[in-house]
Assembly symmetry: C2
Homo-oligomer: 351 residues x 2
Amino acid sequence: MLDSLTIALDAMGGDQAPDIVIEGASLTNIRHPDTEFRIYGDEAVIRPLLDKHAALSAVSTIVHTDNAISADMKPSQALRSGRASSMGMAITAVKEGEAAAAVSAGNTGALLALSKFILRMMPGIDRPALVALMPTRDGETAMLDLGANVECSDENLVQFAVMGAAYVRLVQGLSRPKVGLLNIGSEELKGHESIRLAADRLREADLSYEFVGFVEGDDIGFGKADVVVADGFTGNIALKTVEGTARLILELFQRAFRNSLLSKLGYLLARRALRTLRDHLDPNTHNGGMMLGLNGLVIKSHGGASAAGYASAIDVAIELAKGNLQERIAADLAALGAGENEPAAEEAASA
Amino acid sequence: MLDSLTIALDAMGGDQAPDIVIEGASLTNIRHPDTEFRIYGDEAVIRPLLDKHAALSAVSTIVHTDNAISADMKPSQALRSGRASSMGMAITAVKEGEAAAAVSAGNTGALLALSKFILRMMPGIDRPALVALMPTRDGETAMLDLGANVECSDENLVQFAVMGAAYVRLVQGLSRPKVGLLNIGSEELKGHESIRLAADRLREADLSYEFVGFVEGDDIGFGKADVVVADGFTGNIALKTVEGTARLILELFQRAFRNSLLSKLGYLLARRALRTLRDHLDPNTHNGGMMLGLNGLVIKSHGGASAAGYASAIDVAIELAKGNLQERIAADLAALGAGENEPAAEEAASA
């Protein structure tokens, strides 16, 4: 449909918009010189920033709008008045086929509400799910749902597993990702019934991933699964708990290093190694969460992302668009449906 | 009832039992020389260990049993055959009034099952809850339920809040603890209905704690609440996620320090400060979790606890027994019940 890939950017979303957005796009432009951009926002502000990057300018079109979604706007308000905003127009570009994906670092609640409203659900998916990459010992793991749905049925969890597997196949380049369900471990204290039922279905299904069963909270960081599936309440609690614990320990480390002259000196000597670690734990390097299950790709960048972080969100958008995420999910859903609901019918037909 | 406090010890539970149990008791004995011990287990093994500590021997009675609960015994099996075990007998001593509290580092599932079976629930509490202390930036916070109940009603959560507040008042010495409900934060994505209903009740109740509302996963480590209340599924996921993230980051730090000669040298210089930090994050220094809501005190020590860790579990048992935990919970429940259920009746009576 599109000769070269076009990505829609919400230039006005994020703590340091539009500067970081344009800086980020210029970094992506070096890696993906053929990718074109439709940049939505205030042209008077964007144009001078874009003019600094000749190569990026050559593949970019600014689409002006005065309307922007503020950081504190409620989702309901965004739905009423945000269709003509830079965010709303970037999403609409995906809907209209003018862009293969949209990227925004703006207000998360508004982005989710507008994306759902404008793009609608893809066929076969009942509920959307928020997914993001989290740092692990030797790489990253994708976790979903991170808060789009408080209550989830076993059917929802199965669909999340299928979507999450398709996502990491493209973003992580894994041919056969390991998928697990977040649960509590004690034998006597089994988890919610929906999780056990979802496990039964995922165990039986013959899909292009490996179902590794239940994953506990302390497995998340150690790569037991490439995709960790949970309801949105539990997933959000786990995500925030990982973030909070990481922040706490880094703070305590800094405090420990200030403890004495010797430890200060130790810090100076080890600081390059510690910076590498901090980078690994930095959400910026794992940027590119999204809402899976919609009729189109909308990638969420962290609001406080650096240019490099924003660029990695655009990179994720490009990888997912090139890899036809939606088609992969649809194919796996079809396989799941065929394997699950109609084996008897097939046997009858072949008999 | 008891002239001096007596604590029942399951000498055979834990990875290094009975050595660590006796070592731990000898440490507590220095701080609490008047506390007496009933030590349950294999006398032939315990006696020589106890003989090394004259002061502890003088306040201890060994109650022999050949029967012990193994680490891999299922709770159902423990219920069938474990009443005469060192663990079962220590719990029974609490039931019979021979001890003010029992401490065990043994099989958690068996301990919970036997405690529930032998002691039964205290009046006014519908479900027991597992509580433990977790390290925070400037101290510790108590979290419950950590896995005793997968599904919880708003009434259960309110009772957990009352029990948790009573627990930290004694263990932490807080006169007016801050109590919060673990929830997800987004305005549009409110948590489960049970949490919102529990919040309404806790907000209205006039108890001896401060209700601080909802606490998110990333608030746990920063002391927003002294007591974090959740259903057992969510609490267990959060607990394990904290543990796993802490383990991951410490591992990554060690790896970072091995990266180069300079960083190795840095580690050597900073190692005292880092050891202080590791101690703060060590579960051993926060030992003394328990199942709240039973007709008696049973304290769970980590199975891998050091002698110091085991001693701190005994210390918790002593503090809770001296502070009359059960009576405090009962009083708060009565106040809650009076305030909640019968204001109209009271008004009618006074009219």
